[in-house]
Amino acid sequence: MKEGKGEIELIKEGKRLDGRGFEELRPIKIEVGVLKRADGSCYFELGGNKVIAAVYGPREMHPRHAQDAKMAVVRYRYNMAPFSVDDRKRPGPDRRSVEISKVSREALDPVVMREYYPKTSIDVYVEVLQSDAGTRTAGINAASVALADAGIPMKDLVSSVAVGKIDGEVVLDLDAMEDNNGEADMPVAMVARTNTITLLQMDGRFEKEEFERGLKLAMSACHKIYELQRAALIDRYSESVGEGEE
């Protein structure tokens, strides 16, 4: 629900409340291989969002009737920690997280080379530890890096960011204050190498032209995030070779 619309001024003198310009991302921090037990993992920070993704598999899939005889099945669980939001979230899946898990899985499916591992599951678990709007996009960014860290063959990484509309302006990467008081929100995920959109959702209200501009803005920001994801992976694997710790 878009409460308090127009009651709070979100843009002052051409700057957003946190000082950002319209097309500016929040600070991003990526750490690869942060969990010991998982086959792959990634910690991802986007402004006030802190998420962690773990990948297990490919492994034998249970229940067996859910197996696909031709390819691996990606399972994705997006979960918010009860303390990640202002009003405590009751633990366990709700309708929002069921939908987010579905579209996030479908955002990653196009790059995972699932045909290599029939009858298995590749399980992706995303935990939102602290939320500040854009958690699903942070989760997809983390999951994509975690899949690479797990050594799962992929055509490319998936990069994700949201755009939205606040005080009548199309802006990149809404924070919680902007999301709660804004007019529209549109999360996007993209395969950078081919400019293929793998997640697209929108709520609120956009003119057609604003949508088109927003999509372009999200796509160019995805390229920036992609470079950071790549750099984090390269960094991790150039430093740890030869340590023999795992």
């Binding site: 081919t194 929108m202 209200r205 057609k208």
Partner: protein, 259 residues
Amino acid sequence: MGLEIVNEVRKDYVHDLIGSGKRVDGRGFREYREISVERDVIKRAEGSARVKIGNTDVLVGVKLDPGAPFSDAPDKGVIITNAELVPLASPEFESGPPGENSVQLARVVDRGIRGSEAIDLEKLCIEEGEKVWIVFIDIHILDNDGNLVDAAALGAIASLLNIRIPNERYGLTGESTLPMRDTPVAVTAVEIDGNILVDPNFNEENAAASRLTVISNADGTLSGMQKSGSGGLKEEEIAEVVEMGIEKAGEIREKYLFS
């Protein structure tokens, strides 16, 4: 198991035909199946509509109950949208708690109505902070031949256009109608082998890697969007669906909501 194999064979059939520029039921790529909207079909509901798109058959019922508002919106009514993919409607549907497809269906329909602000939630306030009308939009699928989203969204807005507020039942007085401020209409298309096909039937949905729903309003603004399926879409493909979505929504609105 047998069903999966049959669906695989049908998938190949859909791809083969599209390769030669045809659809399984002979339609053009930008052509809907025949649509029918029948309103007020359930007398016990405060609003209802039965929508058929080809063989797809969806019944939407709207009920209003007095209840407590959300604490952060004490003077506003509440919308709750639910969808049931009952096993009667398709061999693929199973009974049990709502799965991700029914949750997604309900949430996309809900998003369109919410985003358009079609319902003036403040008009649903009975007593600030205490009592407001809760609008339950329940989507019941009767026969699934694909494109449930468009049928459900059309059924929802058609039902809402004729709401009778049940004041007497609860000993209340007030307006008995709920004027709608907008008419969001959903248009869904799939991408198959680089072609965009509007209003996919079951076999086309099954063969398609990605699907995009675009919900637009009377003035051509967008109030909801959802990509689903395990494929990706190009920017031009998305632009094509958006442009076609606005155009088709206009036609559907004229023909089935204001007639």
